[in-house]
Symmetry: C2
Subunit: 890 residues, 2 copies
């Protein structure tokens, strides 16, 4: 096709200066964030050194053309340079009054990792003389030149920085000085020659003496840096998609290092840590921006500027006001003071902590800068996490031993314990313990629940430990592979260092740090602003937020966090208690219905009591109870010791137990005998569970506790399955009502999980027998993608690395694939039953990006783990707003 | 709603007799098969005893009304009885010339298991006297009465048959006789009284003396029998759906037991075993139909009738001619001769063997009775199996030890061997062996291939052994649970009997029989008629039939069976050979790319040679090669001995091997690191395989063998996966072409399997990078339904038993669920790429019912195991015809 080599030929360069500013902040896509904001600041009268921006589409054209600069670009650049010379009254490469420029990249999204900055561009053997004349400071001028050669060689030409450093060391040695700043003009001249040799040696060419050659190469280097692996990875990790390329900002130089009346600084218009409306930042006298970054000298807080240059400080406070009034957002600025004159070099939206985000958003509504809706969209929902969990004091010292995966946020300290039973026993003793395991299994549940935190040496962020911990909001560090755990000797070895039972360890679930010793913690605080924001969110959102909870304690926490019911009450964890697991195992190993019924009879009172507790905690709110789901072998002991114990208890031979455990083994348990398949083959399990639910309901109601159970049948794939089990459930409900002689109204909805692709595809048939659908997006993802969550560790990293997947589909729902099934199921289900209640109870219920999808397909509710309830409330509000905005465009 | 109790009130009874016949054979749904055919025979002038049929809708109404006969039914029955009395000139319950009737059930489909027959109805204490008078035979009359009480008590009232038998024994004892027929009139009278007592004792009421009461109860019993478990199960097992109920046939009695000039018989209009056009059947003199069935006396072949009653024999030959001319189909008839007069009691389409079905269908076309299309639809495609495999001589004696599941048809005999290696060694020695295992694994492949047959004690018809065996057309009996296999001592114990290494055993893959000793076998024969039928099928079908084959030998067989290419050439089995498995294991256990490449280099020549062999066998036909699919741990040894051997060969520590094997273990291997996921993480595997394919192709082409490979990438779920691997494949192809300096055209299509739900849902994206789709319906079924094929044994029987599933979805494709995904994928794929070639290579490719579905969604080809190719060819033709018929209705 003749179009193939077609490139955009529209305007490539946008100038900003005192007389003419061609860009504005709305042009972020075309000019990049930095360029758009430089233009914007210029046009609202802030003191910005003049310059111009080359568009992001030019970068795209450069890449498309196979790394070739568009034909007319140099001409355009020259035209704009002439404009700049005119405005600054300096000449590029001049021997008298040379114009120097900086070259900086700048994409539409903030992207560290790309080529950053070249300063002092335009200096040559000739113009360095001009600069000395112009500034009256030869040393400064030489220093600027050597910096350019170093920076240009390093950043533009890829010469290893160390090459320049060792040249510097030689010169310093020769001149017998130790500090860079002690080198005199002769020394600097010698250094410049040494740098030029380094440059020549490693690039094969001389350092360019044509300033336009310098400029051209610098621009090209910025373009190239768009696609270096570091930048590509950054974009993937941060979900930055659909950008065309980077812009290039060429700006006349100002110098913060021209003496004691010069300086440079960075600042935030409000405190990015707390959100307080205070000017916040730091500055260095007689320094350039890179000195601040390099951390050679320690900067002063901006408040100190009041003393040093009160009028500049006042000017900065005015700038802060102007910027906030204009941008209606907290800004992160860079500035330079050249010989007592202030210049603005950058403004952008400032990053902030979750707490600050909430405070700033709410404050700005109060200040009438923004609307409530805007405020809601300003707070990244996930950042609320920081407000809801305890965390280590950021100022406390950490003796970090190793780093694992930050599997479940929070902070915990305690003695290491190696078995679930010990975790329970010592916690009951009042000790704080960390459960340390190679990996966890359902047998460890009670210990995991008891422990202050969980630490594993294998498994990823979707391992059993991680998933369970997140559900409880319990701190967990997983897959800390450097730990060598010896549970028999009760030691952890890490890089030869042994940690014993008397050593306290701390784990940071937000960073993955494993720390020796205790670390001071900060409790979560529900600020006034947080409560205000939540009220606004609740007003806007149109999805109900429920929680996934199996215990009265978790239910109470979730309720405090604003849960409007339980969307998923798993019943399996209830069987792991000490008195219960034996009866459960008897039930499983029974070889006939009457033995099974006898064992179930023992379990019934426990179940009933559990439900009474949960109903009481959720008084007046609906509680969706899922019937038994996991394969039965998950309840059986796998270790010989436990198997022998079971044999004794059941009065059968040990061999028999082993045989039955083997018999129940499955090749792919995920796709095996579990979910409603269990109750199809063993209807008496369903009868027991439903009996417990109904008896608990009636007992509560008689105590004036408004129990509102809903019964959920898991893993339905065929409408006939649900039809049969619904009938059995209804019969059982009737039986209990009769037995208990209950006269009240007891209208218990019966629904199903949609977690098997076939159920979604045939949702119209399934809906005939369901009062509600709850999407189990974990299993639905496993089956739709064919990924076992337990086994993705072997290929998922490659899939993300190689950009085959943009994100882990167990964290953010795969809207393209899995989402289609959700959409089909909702549509078909509501065709059959227009008012069918639809919700979601997979882990995606706590993921803001997924929540936007769920809102778009009109789910009625979301259920997530207790600690994510506030996040879901905010995310649901944001989803409503975003989907409204989207609807306006379509 | 007032309509709820609405019942059909249209005509309930259809009369058939010499003057009036209200039904015809087109009314099978309403009258049942038997009733419709009785009417039809009557109307074409055959001698049928007059009677009438109560409709199947009446049965439906009876059930709907909660087992209540429609109000006016008795009135209708009485009206028709009066019509019958008039025609027969006898009176129901009369004391002089009583009318006796038979009552028989008859649904639209043949259904053993339901209530069958009550004879002599209408006899009472009074009419029995009339019958004696009418026939002049008191003994006959009394005998008929006692038979009625027995039959009515047993069949209608559910009295245990043994109760009557022990009463009979007492009477015989009392009269000192041993044979039933020796009992005199007094004895029979006593027996009648004894039977009446039995009846009263077990029903609580007297044997009805009102003949209409008898008739009413008999009719009701027939209706009730429609829904007894036995009948429901039969319908399910035979996929009989959508029927309303059973008809009831009330017919005037004729007696084959009225003396030496009477008799009864059953016959086929052609030989049901061979299909030869010969009258075939047997008869008994002086007997009733039940005597033939009961097997008390041995019947004579119908040819003997020529001597006994030549004119009756001629009359029967005429009937045969008339029926075949009329029905244009081979008939199965029942007849009775009463005092020298022939009566027809039934005609229906006769069951036949596969061979007979083929011969009759082709012969009838030659006889111009039916069209070729009709002939194609007359042969159940699955029945061709019998023609294609060796089978045991049906006349040979069998010493059956136990019965397992008939997992893969055929017949095999040989010495039991217990390891794959021994199977190979002894087969190479010229011995015939049966591989006996608890279960098989991929490590046994070479032994399974070598053995004459495979016998396992666990696993179902979709176990590894079964699936692999069917693929090869190798005889397999699976899950023979009564066998106790001791592979160390090399014995099988069955019910205490020990079978050693010197004992030959035989297994029948069509029945599941495990037999002690050798059994004579019949070779398969491709008859002339078979070839003719196949030619017709090939002309009609519009889907190409390919085969699944991994070896030159299987490819040659498939080609002989008419395969038009290979649709699935698995490459994994190729790695199990003795020289290869070591290199394969080295490759898997390599910890870096260069070691892996070194091991792969060893495998390359083997792969290349394999492909050359297959290309040669398929010269000129396309060969779709699937790249490595199973998880790598399937190739690793699980037994310590083999692990130690591997450690020595690889010069690493044994512990290291154990560690790596454990490391590669997966919780759900089905959803783990396999298929194209392997080549995403280890691209060098793809490179080796594609190199082997292309080198083999070029080598063949240079020898003038027209190799036509197609490369298939398995387990794709995301379009980006395929895009990346396609690119790598294309690059590798280019590299080999260059290296081999090949100048010819080498256009190798690159496609993918659609076996993950997500791939089907996003087929429009996937199609961008695919030249063809091949549906892997095995895995697609596993993921869409969430069933692990290896684990369904624990619940599938219950699902079928409880009617939740109508059939095993791994045998016949679930068109409702999985089929939706196939349909979506074809539609979306062809939206993106209108000429996209679509086929299927799962096991459903050999299932006729599934083939009808595949044809309906317009697949281009089907691939099945070699031995099912003829079945698929016929089924594809039938699918074309059936879907054409269906299209006419819509």
């Amino acid at each position: 096709m003749s179009n193939k080599s077609h490139v955009s030929t529209s305007k490539r360069i946008y100038y900003f200066g005192s007389k003419l500013t061609e860009g504005h902040r709305g042009m972020r896509d075309l000019l990049g964030g930095k360029g758009a904001n430089l233009a914007e600041m210029t046009s609202i009268g802030l003191p910005v050194p003049a310059g111009f921006t080359i568009t992001t589409t030019t970068c795209a054209d450069y890449i498309k053309a196979g790394s070739k600069l568009p034909q007319d670009l140099i001409t355009d650049i020259k035209a704009n340079m002439r404009r700049l010379e005119k405005e600054t009254k300096k000449i590029f490469g001049d021997t008298k009054s040379p114009l120097l420029v900086s070259v900086r990249s700048g994409a539409a999204a903030s992207m560290p990792g790309m080529m950053d900055t070249v300063l002092n561009l335009g200096l040559t053997d000739k113009s360095v003389v001009g600069l000395a004349e112009q500034t009256g400071n030869k040393r400064f001028s030489l220093d600027a030149y050597r910096r350019l050669i170093n920076m240009f060689g390093d950043v533009v030409m890829g010469v290893d920085h160390h090459q320049f450093e060792s040249a510097f060391d030689k010169v310093k040695k020769h001149h017998k000085v130790t500090d860079d700043t002690d080198l005199d003009e002769d020394g600097l001249s010698e250094l410049i020659e040494a740098y030029k040799s380094v440059y020549k040696k490693h690039t094969g060419e001389n350092f360019p003496q044509d300033p336009y050659k310098q400029l051209e190469k610098a621009v090209e280097a910025v373009f190239k840096s768009w696609n270096i692996p570091r930048a590509v990875t950054y974009r993937r990790l941060n979900n930055i998609r659909g950008l065309m390329g980077t812009g290039v900002n060429v700006q006349s130089m100002v110098f913060g290092n021209m003496g004691e009346d010069s300086g440079t600084g960075v600042a935030f218009t409000r405190d990015p840590s707390t959100g307080k409306n205070e000017f916040y930042g730091e500055f260095l006298i007689n320094a350039q921006g890179e000195d601040v970054v390099a951390g050679i000298r320690t900067p002063e807080p901006v408040s100190k500027m009041k003393k040093w240059k009160p009028q500049i400080y006042q000017q900065l406070l005015k700038v802060k006001k102007t910027l906030e009034a204009h941008y209606k957002e907290m800004q992160d600025i860079e500035f330079t003071i050249e010989r007592g004159k202030l210049y603005m070099l950058q403004t952008r939206t400032g990053k902030r902590t979750g707490a600050a985000a909430v405070k700033i958003a709410v404050d700005m509504v109060k200040e009438k800068r923004i609307s409530q809706k805007t405020a809601l969209l300003r707070v990244p929902a996930n950042d609320l996490n920081q407000l809801l969990l305890p965390s280590f004091d950021p100022k406390a010292k950490r003796n970090v031993l190793t780093r694992g995966l930050p599997a479940s946020p929070g902070a915990a300290s305690g003695y290491p314990v190696y078995t679930a039973d010990e975790a329970v026993a010592r916690t009951e003793n009042g000790e704080s313990v960390i459960l340390v395991r190679k990996e966890t299994s359902p047998e460890d549940i009670h210990g995991m629940h008891a422990a202050a935190g969980i630490l594993t040496s294998t498994g990823g962020s979707t391992s059993h430990a991680a998933v369970v911990a997140r559900g409880w909001g319990k701190c967990c560090v997983a897959g800390a592979g450097e730990l060598v755990i010896d549970s028999k000797r009760e030691t952890i070895t890490i890089h030869g260092k042994k940690i014993g039972v008397k050593d306290i360890i701390s784990i940071d679930g937000s960073t993955g740090d494993v720390i020796l010793g205790d670390v001071a913690k900060r409790a979560p605080a529900f600020t006034k602003e947080f409560r205000t924001l939540m009220t606004w969110a609740d007003r806007v959102r149109n999805m109900v937020i429920r929680t996934n909870s199996d215990t009265p304690k978790d239910s109470a926490i979730a309720r405090k966090f604003g849960a409007e019911g339980i969307g998923l009450c798993r019943t399996e964890h209830m069987f792991f208690g000490d008195n219960r697991i034996m009866a459960m195992r008897e039930m499983i190993l029974s070889e006939n219905t009457s033995d099974r019924r006898a064992a179930l009879k023992k379990l019934l009172p426990f179940q009933r009591r559990d439900f009474e507790g949960i109903f009481s905690a959720m008084n007046g709110l609906p509680v969706t109870i899922r019937l038994l789901d996991p394969p039965l072998h998950e309840f059986l002991p796998t270790e010989e010791k436990s198997q022998r114990k079971l044999a004794r208890a059941m009065k059968v031979k040990f061999d028999h137990i082993v045989h039955r455990v083997n018999q129940l083994h499955e090749v792919n348990p995920m796709l095996g005998h579990r979910g409603c398949r269990l109750t199809v083959t063993f209807p008496e399990i369903l009868e027991m569970q439903v009996t417990a639910i109904v008896e608990a309901t009636i007992n509560c109601r008689r105590k004036r506790i408004n129990a509102l159970p809903e019964i959920m049948i898991p893993l339905v794939g065929i409408d006939t399955e649900l039809a049969m089990l619904r009938e059995l459930t209804e019969e059982t409900i009737e039986k209990v009502i009769k037995k208990k002689k209950y006269k009240g109204k007891l209208d218990i909805p019966i629904g199903t999980m949609i977690e098997i692709p076939r159920a979604a595809l045939t949702a119209d048939d399934v809906a005939q027998h369901a009062d509600f659908f709850s999407f189990g997006t974990n299993d639905l993802t496993q089956m739709t993608l064919g990924y076992s969550r337990d086994d993705i560790g072997s290929f998922m990293p490659d899939y993300l690395e190689k950009n085959i997947l943009e994100y882990n589909p167990f964290q953010t729902m795969d809207a393209t694939g899995v989402g289609q099934l959700v959409e089909i199921a909702v549509a078909k289900g509501r065709t059959a039953k227009p008012k069918l209640k639809c919700g979601i109870c997979g882990e995606h219920g706590g993921d803001p990006e997924s929540i936007v999808f769920f809102q778009s397909v009109q789910l009625d509710y979301i259920s997530c783990s207790p600690f994510r309830v506030p996040i879901a409330r905010l995310a649901a509000a944001q989803a409503t707003l975003l989907n409204q905005q989207l609807a306006l465009f379509n």
